[in-house]
Symmetry: C2
Subunit: 375 residues, 2 copies
């Protein structure tokens, strides 16, 4: 339940401004015809490589070829109609090989130490023989500004692990675009044999809800000194979490972290659990010293075991896909509406009249819809 806003989530900031729908991309043409140049930082530009066939991509991914894996993700991230179509064919063929990882979403306030934690946690998993893919969802990142998440340079130690694969946030622009790309990238990584997918997000817009909707387990990383940083945690985010992790529980902070843990456990007692049949708890850890990090995996394993035994695990995954289908449909309908020239033309006047109280909301809605249906 986010704070009340001027408009619902799905209304663009400036109504009438074109906002890309990830469903529309394949229809209208996207921003970048050459995906490799914008999103494929981890591989050479698309245009300079020899053209791969659908089968090349599929076989490459299934055989665990990392270059082709990176190229496939670049293909998935492309906004150009011809690549989108190809990507969908590749995904279709990979689908039977997907779904076998545990998908862990990770969020937290800026400064909570998410990257360091992911690095420590990821390295530990790799050393245990797990294959770890790290993705990021950051709708604010763009071609020019670059992704602020998931950069290899930020996770130097993890990026050198042979069992790890790090992918920065796609330059999707809208949350919808980033969502499609991230969800499909999860599938591709699974088909390539990664058994643990960590999806990191900063708290931009609805990105926590989005990452929650594509993962099995959701981890909220927090700081010590409970309460004081609360201004940084968005409304409702605690209620998305399957576990709260108080990071930086080291040195002078250990006692404070313990206090914070107990406080948050109290709070969790009053909130509805994010996952049916799983009571979220708060834990402490130190990404720096590694203390408590091994325990995170124990919690995830316990969660998975419990959820799978009740069937909740699979049930939620199926729901997540269907929910996503209808979210894409909804976004497409909205894009069509707000990009309609007749609608665009009358929106400012209608909003003005509603604000002044000279027309009722019902009439305003009717007039907007009449304008839309005229087109």
């Amino acid at each position: 339940m986010s704070k009340e806003k001027q408009r619902p989530e799905w209304v663009p900031e400036e109504a009438g401004t074109a906002f890309a729908s990830h469903v529309m991309e394949g229809v209208n043409g996207g921003h970048d015809g050459m995906p490799g140049q914008t999103a494929g930082r981890s591989s050479p530009p698309f245009s300079r490589r020899r053209k791969l066939s659908v089968d090349d991509y599929v076989q490459g991914v299934l055989s665990g070829n990392r270059t082709i894996l990176a190229q496939t993700i670049t293909l998935v991230e492309s906004n150009a109609p011809r690549y989108i179509e190809m990507a969908q064919e590749v995904i279709k063929q990979l689908l039977p090989y997907t779904g076998r990882s545990i998908r862990i979403g990770i969020t937290g306030v800026p400064g909570a130490g998410k990257s360091t934690l992911i690095e420590t946690f990821g390295c530990m998993l790799c050393e245990q023989g797990r294959r770890v893919a790290v993705l990021a969802v950051d709708p604010s990142s763009s071609v020019t500004r670059g992704s602020i998440l998931g950069d290899k340079t930020r996770m130097d130690r993890l990026s050198r692990q042979p069992n790890a694969f790090i992918r920065p946030s796609p330059s999707g622009g809208t949350l919808g675009g980033v969502t499609r790309k991230s969800r499909e990238t999860i599938l591709v990584c699974e088909a390539a044999g990664f058994d643990t997918v960590l999806v990191e997000t900063v708290g931009v817009g609805q990105s926590e809800t989005t990452v929650r909707s594509m993962t099995d387990f959701f981890l909220l990383v927090m700081l010590t000194g409970a309460g004081d940083e609360l201004q940084g945690i968005k409304k409702g985010v605690i209620e998305l979490a399957d576990a709260l992790l108080i990071n930086k529980a080291d040195g002078d902070n250990i006692i404070k972290a313990q206090v914070a843990k107990e406080e948050y456990n109290r709070v969790l007692h009053y909130l509805k659990p994010a996952s049916e049949g799983w009571m979220p708890e708060a834990y402490t850890c130190s990404a720096l010293t590694g203390a408590g990090v091994a325990h995170i995996w124990d919690i995830v394993e316990r969660f998975r075991h419990q959820m799978q035994s009740t069937g909740t695990f699979e049930k939620r995954r199926k729901s997540q896909v269907l929910e996503w289908v209808y979210t894409m449909v909804q976004e497409h309908l909205q894009t069509g509406f707000f990009n309609d020239p007749n609608v665009k033309k009358i929106i400012p006047g209608i909003e003005q009249q509603v604000s002044e109280g000279s027309i009722s909301a019902t009439i305003a809605a009717k007039e907007l819809l009449a304008a839309y249906e005229k087109g």
Copy 2:
């Protein structure tokens, strides 16, 4: 942030099933051509009265004529195209006289004693010379089953107060329908001179969020024995509240209620406030003995004063109207989609394929949209 579901909020339980949109009502014709017979329990059936003109309604409401007030609400609650049009004209003329009340939303788990509290609170306000309208939002109520909220019989003492006006939940069927009717009923009551509007809701579907979106102050009524009843409080509802009220703080319960109050105050400390600049707190009261009930009004007054001084009060009201306009638009678009014969035809097959993993979500969305655009 509600729990994850099979589909987003706006997808009907059984996709393809017709679900009435309150915007569509005026276009397609509604369920009941004779509003008085279904929704106007508090006034004689519409058909047997002489026909009032728009001006009759407007003048009647503005002069505080309670019979005409009730008839106007019945008109507003009608689903028949000709009445909807007339109602909109009436509302348009009343708009300049609206907005001068404080709108208080009240929710709580079943058994928390909402009705008794509203009765005690409402009677107190009436005795202080305030004019109190009590409305209810209950999307589950229907013609046949009757409204479970706001029944005059449940608030016997309040209904006998000359300054009180109680209106049961409209038989809107869908939340959207009930929302339109309730929002417009608030406006009509304000134009009739009611300075305090209490909007009660049971926690059906998204009704708390809806009532929050049409009120200034939102009160969550709870029971003593904090924590134990938490199963009854939906996720995110605490975060909608401007105040938590632990009811039934009487007799043996007083100490338990105090403990609950302190516990909830702790919890509130960790949650984002529902209203910008207002820190929600927990209080105890007894609707039975009246203890603590007068204090509720002090809190509301302090809230209003503070919100008005920062401009947040008016700002939120404007946002609420605009948000509602776009919600109606969105619901209309969705209704069009899910009622489309081509969409209805392919939905089961598409969902099946998505669940089996034989098509990707992106393709599923594309196929649904292609079917829609064909029509």
